[in-house]
Protein backbone atom coordinates (compact mmCIF):
# COMPACT_ATOMS: atom_id res chain seq x y z
CA UNK A 1 0.00 0.00 0.00
CA UNK A 2 1.12 3.56 -0.62
CA UNK A 3 2.27 5.55 2.37
CA UNK A 4 2.42 9.32 2.90
CA UNK A 5 5.81 10.14 4.37
CA UNK A 6 5.38 13.87 4.79
CA UNK A 7 4.47 17.23 3.37
CA UNK A 8 6.46 20.18 2.10
CA UNK A 9 5.26 23.74 1.72
CA UNK A 10 7.42 26.13 -0.24
CA UNK A 11 7.35 29.46 -2.00
CA UNK A 12 7.54 29.26 -5.83
CA UNK A 13 8.48 32.82 -6.88
CA UNK A 14 9.73 32.88 -10.53
CA UNK A 15 12.82 34.86 -9.51
CA UNK A 16 14.02 31.70 -7.70
CA UNK A 17 14.17 29.97 -11.10
CA UNK A 18 16.31 32.78 -12.48
CA UNK A 19 18.61 32.63 -9.43
CA UNK A 20 19.07 28.87 -9.98
CA UNK A 21 19.81 29.41 -13.68
CA UNK A 22 22.39 32.05 -12.79
CA UNK A 23 23.91 29.97 -9.93
CA UNK A 24 23.20 32.64 -7.32
CA UNK A 25 22.24 30.23 -4.52
CA UNK A 26 25.09 31.40 -2.30
CA UNK A 27 24.76 35.14 -2.95
CA UNK A 28 23.96 37.11 0.23
CA UNK A 29 20.48 37.95 -1.08
CA UNK A 30 19.61 34.32 -1.87
CA UNK A 31 21.48 32.29 0.75
CA UNK A 32 18.91 32.77 3.54
CA UNK A 33 16.31 31.18 1.26
CA UNK A 34 18.29 28.41 -0.46
CA UNK A 35 20.04 27.53 2.82
CA UNK A 36 16.60 26.57 4.12
CA UNK A 37 16.70 23.55 1.82
CA UNK A 38 19.82 21.94 3.28
CA UNK A 39 17.80 19.99 5.81
CA UNK A 40 15.13 19.18 3.20
CA UNK A 41 17.82 17.63 0.96
CA UNK A 42 19.11 15.54 3.84
CA UNK A 43 15.58 14.38 4.68
CA UNK A 44 14.72 13.57 1.06
CA UNK A 45 18.00 11.66 0.70
CA UNK A 46 17.02 9.57 3.71
CA UNK A 47 13.30 9.11 3.03
CA UNK A 48 13.53 8.68 -0.76
CA UNK A 49 9.95 9.33 -1.86
CA UNK A 50 8.81 7.61 -5.07
CA UNK A 51 6.02 10.03 -5.86
CA UNK A 52 5.23 13.71 -5.23
CA UNK A 53 1.62 14.90 -5.29
CA UNK A 54 1.92 18.64 -5.92
CA UNK A 55 -0.81 21.18 -5.14
CA UNK A 56 -0.11 24.42 -7.01
CA UNK A 57 -1.77 27.22 -8.93
CA UNK A 58 -1.32 27.81 -12.65
CA UNK A 59 -0.31 31.36 -13.64
CA UNK A 60 -1.48 31.32 -17.24
CA UNK A 61 0.47 28.50 -18.85
CA UNK A 62 -1.89 25.52 -19.02
CA UNK A 63 -5.09 27.41 -18.24
CA UNK A 64 -6.41 30.77 -19.34
CA UNK A 65 -9.11 32.79 -17.57
CA UNK A 66 -11.72 31.83 -20.18
CA UNK A 67 -11.94 28.22 -18.93
CA UNK A 68 -10.57 27.93 -15.44
CA UNK A 69 -11.17 24.86 -13.27
CA UNK A 70 -11.33 25.27 -9.51
CA UNK A 71 -9.53 21.94 -9.07
CA UNK A 72 -7.73 20.07 -11.87
CA UNK A 73 -5.85 16.78 -11.57
CA UNK A 74 -3.10 15.75 -13.98
CA UNK A 75 -3.32 12.25 -15.47
CA UNK A 76 -0.46 12.34 -17.95
CA UNK A 77 2.63 10.25 -18.63
CA UNK A 78 4.73 13.38 -18.48
CA UNK A 79 4.36 17.05 -17.65
CA UNK A 80 6.22 19.56 -19.76
CA UNK A 81 7.00 23.15 -18.93
CA UNK A 82 7.01 25.80 -21.67
CA UNK A 83 7.85 29.46 -22.17
CA UNK A 84 5.82 31.38 -19.57
CA UNK A 85 6.56 34.78 -21.06
CA UNK A 86 8.64 36.27 -18.29
CA UNK A 87 12.10 35.12 -19.26
CA UNK A 88 12.50 31.96 -17.17
CA UNK A 89 14.48 29.16 -18.81
CA UNK A 90 12.18 26.29 -19.78
CA UNK A 91 12.41 23.55 -17.16
CA UNK A 92 13.03 19.86 -17.58
CA UNK A 93 10.00 17.57 -17.87
CA UNK A 94 8.50 15.77 -14.88
CA UNK A 95 7.45 12.12 -15.19
CA UNK A 96 3.85 11.22 -14.39
CA UNK A 97 2.19 8.20 -12.82
CA UNK A 98 -1.18 8.06 -14.57
CA UNK A 99 -2.40 4.92 -12.79
CA UNK A 100 -2.17 6.72 -9.45
CA UNK A 101 -3.66 9.88 -10.99
CA UNK A 102 -6.76 7.98 -12.11
CA UNK A 103 -7.07 6.33 -8.73
CA UNK A 104 -7.02 9.77 -7.07
CA UNK A 105 -9.52 11.09 -9.62
CA UNK A 106 -11.91 8.21 -8.98
CA UNK A 107 -11.76 8.67 -5.22
CA UNK A 108 -12.14 12.45 -5.45
CA UNK A 109 -15.28 12.15 -7.55
CA UNK A 110 -16.63 9.50 -5.15
CA UNK A 111 -16.05 12.08 -2.43
CA UNK A 112 -18.09 14.62 -4.46
CA UNK A 113 -15.20 16.74 -5.69
CA UNK A 114 -16.17 17.71 -9.24
CA UNK A 115 -12.66 18.01 -10.58
CA UNK A 116 -11.28 18.51 -14.09
CA UNK A 117 -9.20 15.62 -15.46
CA UNK A 118 -6.17 16.56 -17.56
CA UNK A 119 -4.49 14.01 -19.82
CA UNK A 120 -2.41 16.86 -21.24
CA UNK A 121 -1.15 19.36 -18.73
CA UNK A 122 1.69 21.82 -18.93
CA UNK A 123 3.11 22.66 -15.51
CA UNK A 124 4.46 26.12 -14.77
CA UNK A 125 7.07 27.46 -12.35
CA UNK A 126 4.75 26.69 -9.42
CA UNK A 127 5.58 23.01 -9.98
CA UNK A 128 9.03 23.14 -11.58
CA UNK A 129 10.68 25.52 -9.09
CA UNK A 130 9.77 23.48 -6.00
CA UNK A 131 11.03 20.36 -7.85
CA UNK A 132 14.31 22.12 -8.68
CA UNK A 133 14.60 23.27 -5.06
CA UNK A 134 14.03 19.77 -3.68
CA UNK A 135 16.31 17.96 -6.14
CA UNK A 136 18.88 20.48 -7.38
CA UNK A 137 21.32 19.64 -10.13
CA UNK A 138 19.74 16.29 -11.01
CA UNK A 139 19.59 15.29 -14.68
CA UNK A 140 16.12 13.88 -14.01
CA UNK A 141 13.96 14.30 -10.92
CA UNK A 142 13.90 11.06 -8.92
CA UNK A 143 10.11 11.03 -8.40
CA UNK A 144 7.01 10.75 -10.53
CA UNK A 145 4.39 13.39 -9.91
CA UNK A 146 0.65 14.02 -9.78
CA UNK A 147 0.08 17.77 -10.22
CA UNK A 148 -3.17 19.14 -8.79
CA UNK A 149 -4.04 22.70 -9.72
CA UNK A 150 -6.15 24.89 -7.44
CA UNK A 151 -7.59 28.17 -8.69
CA UNK A 152 -6.07 30.95 -6.58
CA UNK A 153 -6.24 33.51 -9.39
CA UNK A 154 -9.82 34.34 -10.38
CA UNK A 155 -12.41 34.81 -7.63
CA UNK A 156 -14.51 33.18 -6.35
CA UNK A 157 -11.79 30.87 -5.00
CA UNK A 158 -12.47 27.68 -3.04
CA UNK A 159 -12.49 28.27 0.72
CA UNK A 160 -9.72 27.22 3.08
CA UNK A 161 -12.06 24.56 4.47
CA UNK A 162 -12.75 23.19 0.99
CA UNK A 163 -9.03 22.93 0.19
CA UNK A 164 -8.37 21.19 3.50
CA UNK A 165 -11.11 18.66 2.63
CA UNK A 166 -9.68 18.22 -0.86
CA UNK A 167 -6.36 17.35 0.75
CA UNK A 168 -8.03 14.91 3.15
CA UNK A 169 -9.73 13.15 0.28
CA UNK A 170 -6.39 12.90 -1.54
CA UNK A 171 -4.73 11.60 1.62
CA UNK A 172 -7.28 8.80 2.02
CA UNK A 173 -7.03 7.99 -1.68
CA UNK A 174 -3.23 7.72 -1.59
CA UNK A 175 -3.38 5.40 1.40
CA UNK A 176 -5.85 3.12 -0.37
CA UNK A 177 -3.60 2.78 -3.42
CA UNK A 178 -2.47 -0.79 -3.82
CA UNK A 179 1.22 -0.36 -4.53
CA UNK A 180 4.13 0.09 -2.12
CA UNK A 181 5.00 3.69 -2.82
CA UNK A 182 6.38 6.41 -0.57
CA UNK A 183 4.49 9.59 -1.29
CA UNK A 184 5.48 13.17 -0.52
CA UNK A 185 2.75 15.80 -0.66
CA UNK A 186 3.74 19.31 -1.70
CA UNK A 187 1.92 22.64 -1.47
CA UNK A 188 3.49 25.57 -3.30
CA UNK A 189 3.25 29.37 -3.28
CA UNK A 190 2.88 32.10 -0.66
CA UNK A 191 3.39 33.19 1.93
CA UNK A 192 2.18 36.78 2.27
CA UNK A 193 2.65 38.94 -0.81
CA UNK A 194 0.83 41.27 -3.13
CA UNK A 195 1.90 42.16 -6.66
CA UNK A 196 -0.94 44.41 -7.79
CA UNK A 197 -2.52 47.71 -6.84
CA UNK A 198 -1.49 50.55 -4.56
CA UNK A 199 -0.87 47.98 -1.78
CA UNK A 200 1.78 46.14 -3.87
CA UNK A 201 4.64 45.03 -1.66
CA UNK A 202 2.37 44.18 1.25
CA UNK A 203 3.87 41.54 3.58
CA UNK A 204 2.51 40.36 6.96
CA UNK A 205 5.09 38.54 9.03
CA UNK A 206 2.87 38.06 12.07
CA UNK A 207 0.08 36.48 10.05
CA UNK A 208 2.50 34.19 8.21
CA UNK A 209 3.84 32.94 11.55
CA UNK A 210 0.29 32.25 12.71
CA UNK A 211 -0.49 30.35 9.51
CA UNK A 212 2.65 28.20 9.80
CA UNK A 213 1.97 27.47 13.49
CA UNK A 214 -1.68 26.56 13.02
CA UNK A 215 -0.92 24.57 9.88
CA UNK A 216 0.92 22.06 12.06
CA UNK A 217 -1.18 21.90 15.19
CA UNK A 218 -4.71 22.84 14.12
CA UNK A 219 -5.28 23.51 10.40
CA UNK A 220 -9.03 23.45 10.99
CA UNK A 221 -8.63 26.68 12.97
CA UNK A 222 -7.43 28.48 9.83
CA UNK A 223 -10.77 27.83 8.17
CA UNK A 224 -12.22 30.65 10.28
CA UNK A 225 -10.79 33.08 7.69
CA UNK A 226 -12.94 33.86 4.66
CA UNK A 227 -11.14 34.40 1.37
CA UNK A 228 -11.56 38.22 1.53
CA UNK A 229 -10.21 38.20 5.08
CA UNK A 230 -7.29 36.07 3.96
CA UNK A 231 -6.57 38.47 1.07
CA UNK A 232 -6.61 41.37 3.50
CA UNK A 233 -4.23 39.63 5.92
CA UNK A 234 -1.89 37.82 3.50
CA UNK A 235 -2.08 39.98 0.37
CA UNK A 236 -3.82 39.42 -2.94
CA UNK A 237 -1.44 36.60 -3.93
CA UNK A 238 -0.99 35.33 -0.37
CA UNK A 239 -4.06 33.20 -1.05
CA UNK A 240 -1.71 30.72 -2.68
CA UNK A 241 -1.68 29.35 0.85
CA UNK A 242 -4.73 27.35 -0.29
CA UNK A 243 -2.20 24.95 -1.83
CA UNK A 244 -0.59 24.54 1.59
CA UNK A 245 -3.99 23.83 3.16
CA UNK A 246 -4.59 21.02 0.68
CA UNK A 247 -1.11 19.63 1.34
CA UNK A 248 -1.77 19.66 5.09
CA UNK A 249 -5.13 17.98 4.62
CA UNK A 250 -3.44 15.06 2.89
CA UNK A 251 -1.34 14.30 5.96
CA UNK A 252 -3.58 11.79 7.63
CA UNK A 253 -1.34 10.65 10.48
CA UNK A 254 0.41 12.33 13.39
CA UNK A 255 1.92 15.51 12.00
CA UNK A 256 5.07 17.14 13.32
CA UNK A 257 7.11 20.06 12.06
CA UNK A 258 10.48 18.69 10.96
CA UNK A 259 11.87 21.95 9.62
CA UNK A 260 10.90 25.59 9.03
CA UNK A 261 12.65 28.41 7.21
CA UNK A 262 11.15 31.88 6.82
CA UNK A 263 12.79 34.85 5.16
CA UNK A 264 11.69 38.31 4.01
CA UNK A 265 11.97 39.22 1.19
CA UNK A 266 12.50 37.09 -1.87
CA UNK A 267 11.35 39.28 -4.73
CA UNK A 268 8.03 40.71 -3.42
CA UNK A 269 7.33 37.75 -1.19
CA UNK A 270 7.74 36.48 2.35
CA UNK A 271 9.48 33.20 1.49
CA UNK A 272 8.83 30.08 3.52
CA UNK A 273 9.83 26.44 3.47
CA UNK A 274 8.12 24.08 5.91
CA UNK A 275 8.67 20.33 6.09
CA UNK A 276 6.08 18.27 7.96
CA UNK A 277 6.52 14.69 9.07
CA UNK A 278 3.55 12.33 8.86
CA UNK A 279 3.60 9.35 11.16
CA UNK A 280 1.08 6.92 9.74
CA UNK A 281 -1.64 5.50 11.92
CA UNK A 282 -1.69 1.73 12.32
CA UNK A 283 -3.25 -0.06 9.36
CA UNK A 284 -6.95 -0.87 9.53
CA UNK A 285 -7.87 -4.54 9.82
CA UNK A 286 -8.88 -6.07 6.50
CA UNK A 287 -12.51 -6.37 7.68
CA UNK A 288 -12.84 -2.66 8.36
CA UNK A 289 -10.92 -1.44 5.32
CA UNK A 290 -14.08 -0.87 3.34
CA UNK A 291 -15.59 1.31 6.04
CA UNK A 292 -12.47 3.48 6.11
CA UNK A 293 -13.20 4.54 2.54
CA UNK A 294 -16.18 6.54 3.70
CA UNK A 295 -14.92 9.96 4.76
CA UNK A 296 -15.57 10.85 8.39
CA UNK A 297 -16.70 14.32 7.39
CA UNK A 298 -18.70 13.28 4.29
CA UNK A 299 -21.89 14.87 5.60
CA UNK A 300 -20.15 18.24 5.83
CA UNK A 301 -18.17 17.70 2.66
Amino acid sequence: MARIIGGLGTTHVPAIGKAIAEHKENDPYWKPFFGGFDYVHEWLGREKPDVAVVFYNDHGLNFFLDKLPTFAVGAANEYRNEDEGWGLPVSKTAAGIPKLSWHLIERLVEDEFDITMCQDMLVDHAVTIPMALMWPGKAAWPVRIVPISINTVQHPLPSLARCLKLGRSIGRAIESYDEDLKVLVVGTGGLSHQLDGPRAGFINKEFDQLCMDELVRDPEALTRFTIPQFVELAGAQGVEFLNWMAMRGALTGKVTEAHRNYHIPISNTAAATVLLGNESRPRQQAGTAKVSRIPEDASAG
Binding site: D66, E82, W86, H155, L195, D196, A200, K205, A270
Partner: protein
Protein backbone atom coordinates in the same frame (compact mmCIF):
# COMPACT_ATOMS: atom_id res chain seq x y z
CA UNK B 1 -17.45 40.25 -6.93
CA UNK B 2 -18.96 42.31 -4.19
CA UNK B 3 -16.93 45.16 -2.81
CA UNK B 4 -14.72 44.14 0.09
CA UNK B 5 -13.01 47.41 0.83
CA UNK B 6 -9.50 46.05 1.31
CA UNK B 7 -7.21 49.09 1.07
CA UNK B 8 -5.26 49.35 -2.19
CA UNK B 9 -6.54 45.96 -3.34
CA UNK B 10 -8.97 44.73 -5.97
CA UNK B 11 -10.01 41.11 -5.78
CA UNK B 12 -9.94 39.87 -9.36
CA UNK B 13 -13.43 38.45 -9.83
CA UNK B 14 -16.15 38.11 -12.42
CA UNK B 15 -16.46 41.83 -13.20
CA UNK B 16 -12.72 42.22 -13.74
CA UNK B 17 -12.47 38.93 -15.64
CA UNK B 18 -15.22 40.00 -18.03
CA UNK B 19 -13.93 43.54 -18.45
CA UNK B 20 -10.33 42.44 -18.91
CA UNK B 21 -10.78 39.42 -21.17
CA UNK B 22 -9.28 40.98 -24.34
CA UNK B 23 -6.30 42.49 -22.52
CA UNK B 24 -5.58 39.33 -20.56
CA UNK B 25 -5.96 37.21 -23.68
CA UNK B 26 -3.37 39.35 -25.44
CA UNK B 27 -1.02 38.99 -22.48
CA UNK B 28 -1.61 35.21 -22.46
CA UNK B 29 -0.38 35.17 -26.08
CA UNK B 30 2.99 36.48 -24.87
CA UNK B 31 3.88 32.97 -23.73
CA UNK B 32 5.16 32.70 -27.30
CA UNK B 33 8.43 34.42 -28.30
CA UNK B 34 7.07 34.88 -31.80
CA UNK B 35 4.08 36.79 -30.44
CA UNK B 36 6.27 38.95 -28.21
CA UNK B 37 8.31 39.87 -31.27
CA UNK B 38 5.14 40.65 -33.25
CA UNK B 39 3.95 42.97 -30.48
CA UNK B 40 7.27 44.82 -30.46
CA UNK B 41 7.29 45.08 -34.23
CA UNK B 42 3.81 46.60 -34.53
CA UNK B 43 2.12 47.25 -31.20
CA UNK B 44 -0.88 49.01 -32.74
CA UNK B 45 -1.70 46.15 -35.07
CA UNK B 46 -1.12 43.56 -32.36
CA UNK B 47 -3.48 45.26 -29.91
CA UNK B 48 -6.07 45.71 -32.65
CA UNK B 49 -5.93 42.00 -33.39
CA UNK B 50 -7.00 41.22 -29.81
CA UNK B 51 -9.74 43.85 -29.78
CA UNK B 52 -8.53 45.85 -26.77
CA UNK B 53 -10.95 48.51 -25.53
CA UNK B 54 -9.90 52.16 -25.84
CA UNK B 55 -9.17 52.23 -22.11
CA UNK B 56 -7.00 49.10 -22.33
CA UNK B 57 -5.19 50.42 -25.39
CA UNK B 58 -4.39 53.68 -23.64
CA UNK B 59 -3.16 51.90 -20.51
CA UNK B 60 -0.87 49.67 -22.58
CA UNK B 61 0.37 52.62 -24.65
CA UNK B 62 1.23 54.49 -21.44
CA UNK B 63 2.75 51.33 -19.81
CA UNK B 64 0.59 52.23 -16.81
CA UNK B 65 -0.05 49.20 -14.61
CA UNK B 66 -2.72 50.77 -12.38
CA UNK B 67 -4.67 51.77 -15.49
CA UNK B 68 -4.30 48.26 -16.89
CA UNK B 69 -5.67 46.84 -13.61
CA UNK B 70 -8.56 49.33 -13.71
CA UNK B 71 -9.27 48.08 -17.24
CA UNK B 72 -9.58 44.49 -15.99
CA UNK B 73 -5.98 43.33 -16.31
CA UNK B 74 -4.88 40.43 -14.11
CA UNK B 75 -1.43 40.92 -12.64
CA UNK B 76 -0.12 37.45 -13.54
CA UNK B 77 -0.95 38.18 -17.18
CA UNK B 78 0.27 41.78 -17.05
CA UNK B 79 3.59 40.41 -15.79
CA UNK B 80 4.02 38.68 -19.16
CA UNK B 81 3.60 42.06 -20.88
CA UNK B 82 6.01 43.70 -18.43
CA UNK B 83 8.51 40.95 -19.22
CA UNK B 84 8.66 42.13 -22.83
CA UNK B 85 10.17 45.37 -21.57
CA UNK B 86 12.49 43.54 -19.19
CA UNK B 87 10.47 44.67 -16.16
CA UNK B 88 9.91 42.43 -13.15
CA UNK B 89 7.42 42.52 -10.29
CA UNK B 90 9.56 44.92 -8.27
CA UNK B 91 9.62 47.39 -11.15
CA UNK B 92 5.86 47.26 -11.49
CA UNK B 93 5.48 47.36 -7.69
CA UNK B 94 7.50 50.57 -7.64
CA UNK B 95 5.42 52.07 -10.44
CA UNK B 96 2.12 51.24 -8.75
CA UNK B 97 3.18 52.66 -5.38
CA UNK B 98 4.87 55.76 -6.79
CA UNK B 99 8.26 54.81 -5.39
CA UNK B 100 11.64 54.34 -6.97
CA UNK B 101 12.63 50.69 -7.39
CA UNK B 102 15.22 51.08 -4.63
CA UNK B 103 12.63 52.55 -2.28
CA UNK B 104 10.25 49.70 -3.08
CA UNK B 105 12.96 47.12 -2.39
CA UNK B 106 13.81 48.84 0.89
CA UNK B 107 10.14 48.69 1.90
CA UNK B 108 10.17 44.91 1.32
CA UNK B 109 13.32 44.47 3.39
CA UNK B 110 11.79 46.59 6.16
CA UNK B 111 8.78 44.25 6.27
CA UNK B 112 11.11 41.53 7.58
CA UNK B 113 12.26 43.48 10.61
Amino acid sequence: MKHHNIPGTTMFGGDQAQQGLALNRMCFSFNSAENRAAFLKDEEAYCARFGLTAEQREAVRERNVLKMLAAGGNVYYLAKLAGIFGLGVQDIGAQQTGMSVDEFKAKLVAAGR
